[in-house]
């Protein structure tokens, strides 16, 4: 089942590239949202691959925490842009 990580990694490169290339802040935020979800799913896959519960819990927590920080940042950016 190791083959999953390869394509996942390649797809992960797309938003990373986008975040570097696009100068608009909201497009960068989209890339951030995408990266944060994708990395946490990858962590979950790794935890299943290794049968390691601990990493799985971290994956779930990263999933929710990453999104929470994104929402805070989005609100701050909205205030700044006004």
């Amino acid at each position: 089942m190791n083959w999953i990580l390869g394509p996942m990694l390649l797809i992960l490169l797309i938003p990373i590239y986008e975040s570097f290339q696009d100068e608009d802040i909201w497009q960068k935020m989209l890339a951030f949202a995408s990266v944060s979800t994708k990395t946490s799913i990858m962590i979950l896959v790794i935890s299943v691959l290794r049968d390691d519960w601990m990493i799985g819990v971290v994956g779930v927590l990263v999933l929710s925490v990453g999104n929470a920080s994104l929402m805070l940042l989005a609100q701050v950016l909205k205030r700044v842009n006004e």
């Binding site: 390869g6 802040i25 962590i43 935890s47 691959l49």
Partner: protein
Amino acid sequence: MTNVMTDWDLAAITALLPIAAVMTILQKNPYHALVVRGILGAIAALVYALLGAADVALTEALVGTMLAITLYAVAVRSSLVLKLGIIAPVNLPEIELDNGASNGQQDAQQNSNPEDLVHPVSKSLEEIFNLIHSFEDPQELKPLLEDLRVFCDRHSLRLELHPVPDRQALDHAMETKEVHGVALVNGDSSAHPYSVTVRVERLYELMQTELNPAISTLSTTTIKPPPAEKPLVSDASSR
């Protein structure tokens, strides 16, 4: 299904970390850097989890990504600001702000309709926010402010106007370091329509090369610390 993971996968995922780090330091705008820092945090958490350090990954996600970004966002927003004192009619937003807040609360209390009572606090906050932003640029300062806005956008600064009633209050604001600079309208006899004075050395250097010299004259002053601070110093040394 076992824990055998090819070296290639490991190397490729780990290589993302330096790439993201380089991307972060290449950003010029601090807000863009914050977003890319978030991406770096997410990737770092992935790499740490991949290498088996669940605790480090969790710390990176909680502290490195969430706390750091939130704190930096607030810090950048509150520090990257150019406060400019100007003379404008006394229509201070703060005065209206109080009215707006109390009006909002009264509205919320008078309405017994449960739907309107849902967010009384956020409603009045919204009103306050609109009032602050309803302060418009004074007509006679328009060309100068446009020039300054271009300058501020280039350095991702926020331009904040501090309207005061007269010249005396303007000088006072400068002395108490309430503002970073002041802008004045020159008389018709002068060659330049406006004059700008800043007290921050670095701002002066940047403005000297980037502001349109046809619009304004630029000068800098140093503010001496007010004598009232002396007792504090002796107080500290006696401890």
